[in-house]
Amino acid sequence: MTLQSLNRFFFYKLYSVVVSARTYADFTPQATFDIKKCDLHKLEEGPPLQAVLSREEGLQYYRTMQTMRRMELKADQLYKQKIIRGFCHLYDGQEACAVGIEAGINLSDHLITAYRAHGYTLTRGGTVREIMAELTGRRGGIAKGKGGSMHMYTKHFYGGNGIVGAQVPLGAGVALACKYLGKNELCVCLYGDGAANQGQIFETYNMASLWKLPCIFICENNKYGMGTSVERAAASTDYYKRGDFIPGLRVDGMDVLCVREATKLAAEHCRSGKGPILMELQTYRYHGHSMSDPGVSYRTRDEIQEVRSKSDPISMLKDRMLSNNMASVEELKEIDVEVRKEIEDAAQFATTDPEPPLDDLCNHIFYNDPPMEVRGTNPWTKLKSVS
């Protein structure tokens, strides 16, 4: 290299550093955004109509939502390759719900949901690696491969529940424990528009209200319970009002800021001892009910495409941040690259990690018990079971 070209090289390097430094310093540290007004039921005041978003928060929400999206799409891929089997209910489209809720509570609070649970497993502290390895049924899975898609657990996250609606009384029970133990914690208890008609949910509304349990009931209304649209399943589709005596609010579930502000309000309500509150999040799932449902027999491709182009939660956040100079296109692309790598690594792990050892078959029947014998498939086979 000539001295001149070297000089030019260093000049450009210095220039780009200076330019970048200047650009980073130029990013807006925080901005205020208008958010949709929530419909209220037996509530004096709703969440504020504006939300403040810091650059750090924005980048974090973006990263988490993108991770969730890519993880679910990878799961779709692995399922089609038959590496994931059985049930697989994907969450793509609904990312703003999981991320917005977590932004409104603490990790020390509690959360329980139904079977569309991969997103929540992530926000509640699970890693992509252990989630994917659980889907592929390997020993490195979050439940050692013994639970699968619908039975993932972390600290203060009670799954992952396969029986529609059963998680709602469970969640109220967790809230009862929160109140009993006096630690100012609450429980977020999620269910779908399909589950919302379950009798045990109304039983739970009654007891949670009677006993003033610190429980945020959240209905994730993605407009379809499996293949049945809400109009065909519910005499009243105002899910935020179905708690009757429980105050409720209907929230734009595609806007992470809207979800966050509503959750903050709900959490404040619970922590001040007022009892339960109900949030309906209006959201949408891009995939069908599960991987065995193409999702287009009961809704049109146009409808799905419309939501993707007009209301995608990740796009909405990205547009907000870019148009307010809170991040650069390159920066967000870099996050995308990092996320893609994380997902690839996790998928690599999930497809190469061995299945659980056969001698784990009968373990984990009882907790804190001495080892015992379990009958195998025939009288001569006695298997060992430890706690």
């Binding site: 439940a143 050692k144 013994k146 799954g159 529940n161 029986i163 009384p169 967790v174 809230a175 009882f366």
Partner: protein, 341 residues
Amino acid sequence: MASLRCFLRSGKVFVTVRDALNQAMDEELERDERVFLLGEEVAQYDGAYKVSRGLWKKYGDKRIIDTPITEMGFAGIAVGAAMAGLRPICEFMTFNFSMQAIDQVINSAAKTYYMSAGLQSVPIVFRGPNGSSAGVAAQHSQCFAAWYGHCPGLKVVSPWSAEDARGLLKSAIRDDNPVVFLENELMYGVPFEMSEEVQSKDFLIPIGKAKIERQGNHITLVSHSRMISLCLDAAAVLAKEGIECEVINMRTIRPLDAEAIETSIMKTNHLVTVEGGWPQFGIGAEILARIMEGPAFNYLDAPAVRVTGVDIPMPYAKNLEDNSIPQIKDIIFSVKKTLNV
């Protein structure tokens, strides 16, 4: 004040099954702040069958909770509370009503420790009267021992005496796993002698171990709950004819103490099981299958048989009801047939 107590010289007392259960719960509530009781009428009514008498007065609203009549809801709430660190006792007014909540017992409680590969335990007790009572007819008389006994992840316990009730309930409450505790309404008022050792606060009966209530050489009778009383009465009658029955009180349905039964059969060479529930796929069916598959089969001198409730819904009229469940004469008849005398 309620309990009927006669003080005998040796420090032994007579305690009814009801009082034994009451005292066990009282002591465990006192011992561990995380223990609480919920169910219909358990607090201000003192319990539908007065088993929780006095507890609400002593412990208050936080620990003794009256629920609305919503089994699925409150059983689920109890399981959730157990998952989050409390130790609930969930009372079903009778186990017939537990059918409304059975999904929470099986799918939310029993299976969770396994599905989570050990991440989430469920220390809960489901208790209440089980099986037939007197004149309560078909919807209120079913025995659920076989249904719950079928499921891995559950412990299922069926006490007979006051000592059983006390020791097993304490063990159940201290157990870190879901325990189904099957009481019997007709036994609540029956007094039993209780030694000083049994009255002590840390008296526990291990779950999964049967007890020989009466020694004998000629035939083994295996039973649980109220039918033990009938077995002992039948044994007394048979003794007069020179037939000595060994009566085994299962105490626990799941895990089943097959070893105790096998050891006895190796001595007596004959087996009759006695239960109040229906015959098909019942407790006796399981015991017989295990004996067939195990070492005791070669010691049987005659086919093992079951004495069970009649395979019908429970009728109301007294004479019909009496003929729907095993009577002492049915046990005697089956013993003699098995012994070929």
